[in-house]
């Protein structure tokens, strides 16, 4: 094994908490080797904590800084980043939260985090040319189209009104707002409209339509499947989706 690799494995071990091997490789002088190493460990950790705090500000506000930092540290230890593109780090933080035995009474926290991640990712996702009304052929051929969704499109389903909870934690939110925890299922579409992340509540038919299209089903068959849901209006739904930039050009 190369000596460079040995040094780097010792550094990796130090970052995981075992610093003795690395300390033996580092020059200690007026400042001990351990203190010098610690500075690197602090820098790496602080940067990742800041990344998660920036991506999940409402989650953090709901549980407070100390509790959030503890959960974030656990997450970083369990699922360290795999890529230097930190905007893409944290996608599994909501799942990590959901697996925690104690969320300080905030049962909806994982779903809030999932909503925040979806908004964040919607802002970051790849660009794509949007499907235009003029791209659509005659109805018969349109029904056979397999439409790609815009790369920013994500669907969420939650028993909590996460969009309302999120809204009251925005800087410009009205001071008091009553949130009904109705207990029904909330289906949300989160995507990017123009340059801005946005969301919209979906009815059961719209949710089904997008699920079918997302799994590669042709438009006509997807509409048929969604038609099984009560109150589904294909023409109205497809119209706002097309207008809102939900579909990419095939």
């Amino acid at each position: 094994m190369s000596a460079l690799l040995e040094h780097q494995q010792a550094f990796a071990a130090a970052l995981a908490g075992e610093i003795s091997t690395l300390a033996g490789m580092v020059i200690g002088d007026t400042i001990p080797a351990e203190r010098r190493i610690q500075l690197h460990l602090d820098q790496a950790q602080t940067g990742l904590l800041e990344t998660l705090a920036t991506t999940f500000p409402v989650t953090r506000a709901l549980v407070g800084e100390a509790f959030f930092a503890q959960m974030a540290r656990d997450f970083i230890a369990a699922e360290p980043p795999r890529s230097p593109v930190l905007a893409e780090y944290g996608g599994s933080f909501p799942t990590h939260l959901a697996a925690q035995p104690d969320l300080g009474g905030h049962h909806y926290l994982p779903d809030i985090a999932a909503f925040e991640w979806a908004l964040h990712f919607a802002g970051w996702a790849e660009d794509a040319e949007l499907l235009q009304p003029a791209d659509l052929p005659d109805p018969e051929e349109t029904a056979r189209l397999v439409l790609p969704l815009h790369p920013s499109v994500q669907r969420l389903s939650t028993p909590f009104p996460v969009d309302e909870i999120w809204q009251v934690h925005q800087p410009d939110a009205p001071a008091i707002q009553r949130i009904e925890m109705s207990g029904g299922t909330e289906r949300l579409l989160v995507w990017r409209r123009g340059l801005e992340p946005c969301w919209r509540r979906l009815d059961a038919g719209e949710d089904r339509l997008l699920a079918e299209i997302g799994s590669g089903v042709a438009l006509g068959a997807a509409a048929m499947a969604a038609g099984g849901e009560a109150g589904f209006d294909f023409a109205a739904s497809f119209s706002w989706m097309l207008d809102g930039g939900v579909f990419a050009r095939p």
């Binding site: 000596a3 460079l4 007026t30 010098r36 500075l39 980043p81 593109v85 905007a87 996702a125 990017r192």
Partner: protein
């Protein structure tokens, strides 16, 4: 016959020499597009911040129509014993192709191992073995990008017992062997010097570092602020780009400008990011200090008696 190594063509960098550039940070997108400060000569992006789509890419597209842009990578980890990650390198290549930057740069550091990213620019021992490995990695990147890159002088907080080559010499040999250029970060050099030899000896050690760099290989100079952290009753400097440029760094900057007059200057600011106007003012200050340093070095090159005669005339 071995293939000709790519080397930088200084004339493409001339526009960058007139004014200081600033590191582009997303909170400043709107203000930059609105104010279009004439005092700013160019922009440098952190590659990893612009690898997505949406608002950031859109802003970059508009900004690069106004200013020359440089792409500064932070995640390739050229100092790793492993080869640069192909997926990440391809994303960098796509960004470079799309952005058409005037310069592309990376760090003399490593940050990933076995598929995990450690989120820090980590130091490496400077040995003949590690030099071979870094040369290999720089070759891979330059071949992939089809252009030479600059490698930045790191800020370091520790040194390895096994290091045999002085850092500036290591960079010089790297440049000679791969045809890469050098990005001379004077704040980093000062921070490292203080961290390794203490506050008093640091300025002289930092000057000696500049002396050891091959002048023709240096194509960019970074300036930025640092902070101080307590370390077992002493203190260490941290390169956090979160403050105004410190006075000892300005002095080192003047020396660097005199040694490397063909290098463009870039001001970095990351933590405690101030409003754009503060950055613009600091960049303007750098442009003035550069001009002063160049004027002073012209004076000292002239015969002192003749120049005093000229002044009298």
């Amino acid at each position: 016959m071995p293939a000709q190594k790519p080397t930088y063509q200084p004339d493409t960098e001339q526009p960058l020499l007139r004014q200081t550039g600033i590191g582009l940070r997303p909170p400043h997108h709107e203000a930059l597009l609105e104010i279009r400060p004439a005092e700013i000569g160019w922009l440098e992006i952190h590659a990893e911040t612009y690898m997505g789509g949406g608002a950031a890419r859109h802003a970059l597209e508009q900004l690069r129509a106004i200013w020359p842009v440089s792409v500064h990578g932070t995640g390739l980890g050229l100092g790793s014993a492993e080869l640069p990650d192909a997926v990440h390198l391809e994303r960098l290549a796509t960004l470079v192709e799309r952005t058409e930057p005037v310069l592309v740069s990376e760090h003399l550091a490593w940050s990933s191992l076995s598929g995990f990213y450690f989120n820090d620019l980590l130091p490496l021992p400077y040995t003949t073995e590690s030099l071979d490995i870094v040369c290999r990695n720089v070759d891979v990147v330059q071949t992939w990008l089809k252009r030479p890159i600059l490698i930045e002088t790191p800020s370091t907080y520790l040194r390895f017992r096994d290091s045999q080559i002085a850092e500036a010499d290591f960079l010089g040999r790297l440049a000679a062997r791969t045809g890469c250029g050098i990005l001379c970060d004077v704040n980093n050099i000062y921070v490292s010097s203080v961290n390794h030899v203490g506050l008093e000896a640091a300025p002289a050690v930092a000057e000696a570092y500049l002396d050891s760099l091959p002048p023709t290989a240096v194509h960019e100079i970074h300036i930025g602020g640092h902070s101080e952290v307590p370390a077992d009753g002493r203190s260490m400097l941290v390169d956090d780009h979160g403050a105004l440029v410190a006075e000892p760094v300005w002095r080192l900057y003047a020396s660097a400008v005199q040694r490397f007059p063909h290098a463009a200057t870039l001001l970095e600011w990351d933590s405690n990011l101030p409003p754009l106007q503060h950055l613009v003012a600091e960049a303007e200050h750098a442009t003035r200090r550069r001009a002063d340093a160049l004027a002073a070095s012209d004076d000292s090159r002239n015969d002192p008696e003749r120049s005093s005669d000229e002044r009298a005339a």
